[in-house]
């Protein structure tokens, strides 16, 4: 499949140049709270991606019918409706995943990256591009979440991929990789400050890579 240059730009922006997690620094709330293990980070990242694709797509569809003054309230209303629908569907058909994500699932509504992309991109762009932007930005934040989750899980608990069986079922029971056997644990990495330190390191790393390229 040939990717149009426009599509490539959208993904380049979402995953690297304008990455919401480490460049725009939007959507930090779940980043800090949920990124303590890989499974939590991945699950919330993908749920956010789904919501962003849906919200960008539907806003782009109806963008010509929304009076300018009503943009923000309408967008917020729409995002809240979509998040509630996604929450209900996950609760009904993927209860274990719902139990793992808990309160952070409805809290996607308050993640400002969702509103930011709707306002900055989807309200001015055609529908397909908007959906792609939602997916790209969502994957961008997922990548940061998972990296941070892996970092914190290894340093905090000495394991990787633990708890996948809680989200996916018993077949994932053996996925846990023990990186350091008999690791006493490092509480700081599990607690929210660990997320700040990890995020700071990731931003520094990205800046270093970027400046080397330039």
């Amino acid at each position: 499949m040939m990717l149009g240059s426009e599509t490539r730009d959208i993904f380049y922006n979402g995953l690297w140049k304008q990455n919401p997690g480490i460049i725009q620094l939007l959507g930090l709330c779940p980043l800090l709270a949920v990124s303590n293990t890989v499974v939590n980070a991945l699950a919330l990242g993908l749920a956010t991606t789904l919501v962003m694709a849906l919200s960008n797509g539907s806003v782009a569809l109806i963008r010509n019918f929304i009076p300018n003054a009503l943009r923000i309230p309408t967008f917020v209303l729409l995002i809240a409706v979509l998040v509630t629908i996604v929450t209900l569907v996950i609760q009904a058909y993927a209860q274990p995943l719902y139990l793992v994500l808990g309160i952070f699932l409805p809290l996607i509504t308050t993640n400002c990256i969702v509103l930011a992309r709707v306002e900055a991109f989807a309200s001015k762009q055609p529908t397909v591009n908007s959906i792609l932007d939602g997916i790209a930005m969502g994957l961008g934040i997922t990548a940061v979440l998972v990296t941070l989750g892996a970092l914190r899980e290894v340093i905090g608990k000495g394991t990787l991929f633990s708890g996948f069986d809680l989200a996916l079922g018993d077949f994932a029971r053996n996925w846990t990789v023990t990186v350091f056997p008999d690791y006493p644990g490092f509480l700081l990495a599990i607690l929210p400050p660990g997320a700040f330190f990890g995020l700071g390191l990731l931003i520094a790393l990205r800046n270093a890579l970027q400046s080397r390229k330039a």
């Binding site: 003054a69 309408t74 209303l77 509630t84 629908i85 058909y93 209860q95 309160i103």
Partner: protein
């Protein structure tokens, strides 16, 4: 005339649009709720049944616990704010235990709801957490799926350990906890202990179908 026109354009029209979007949103939500409600209820019941079955030793009962429901009044010892249920376990027709719904109100983040299985001789058959809002990754080791912590109540009773040792280790008690998250286990230890006191005071009624 001009003012009315303004009023229609700047206030009435946007209000109508917002109302329309709200109505569409409400419709979508109620539709999704209606379609998912049976599946959500089924999934929740399945999880509760699973936890109920774990609150007593395997093989100690042979009835369908989810159907052996009896009422439980609000009582400060159980930490209940609303009337709840108890589940009567029987084996070959003989009462072999009871599971109380109880609640610890003083968790780190609000209420922790518990199922407390008690054998006729007053020993704990098992304790399970049904819902809680403790810190993910820190206080959630009370879930049996995440750690065996909650199993240390198995076999304890009102006099074993004695009242002075119904505490977490940090406070000179018998029960383990994870450093950094002591509020959570403290609340549960307290709730289990007071549930046992409730059981001792109402044993005969709880083990029959009567109202305690």
């Amino acid at each position: 005339m001009k003012r009315i026109k303004h009023w229609v354009r700047d206030i009435l029209a946007p209000a109508a649009v917002l109302l329309l979007f709200s109505a569409i949103g409400a419709l979508l939500l109620s539709g999704t709720y209606q379609t998912t409600a049976p599946a959500i209820e089924k999934a929740e019941r399945a999880i509760k049944n699973q936890l109920l079955a774990q609150a007593l030793p395997p093989g100690s009962f042979d009835n369908d616990l989810s159907r052996a429901i009896y009422p439980l009044p609000t009582d400060p010892l159980l930490g209940l704010k609303r009337p709840a249920n108890r589940y009567l376990a029987t084996r070959a027709g003989q009462v072999s235990g009871v599971i109380l719904e109880a609640s610890a109100q003083d968790g780190y983040a609000g209420e922790i709801r518990l199922l407390i299985g008690i054998l006729p001789d007053g020993r704990i058959g098992g304790v399970r957490v049904t819902t809680h809002h403790e810190t993910p990754g820190l206080g959630d080791y009370i879930e049996v799926a995440r750690s065996p912590w909650i199993r240390q109540f198995d076999g304890t009773s009102l006099d074993r350990p004695d009242a002075a040792h119904w505490k977490v280790r940090k406070e000179g008690g018998l029960f383990d906890y994870v450093a950094g998250a002591t509020v959570t286990p403290r609340a549960i230890v307290k709730a289990v202990h007071s549930s046992l006191r409730y059981f001792a005071a109402h044993r005969a009624e709880l083990l029959s179908g009567e109202a305690p």
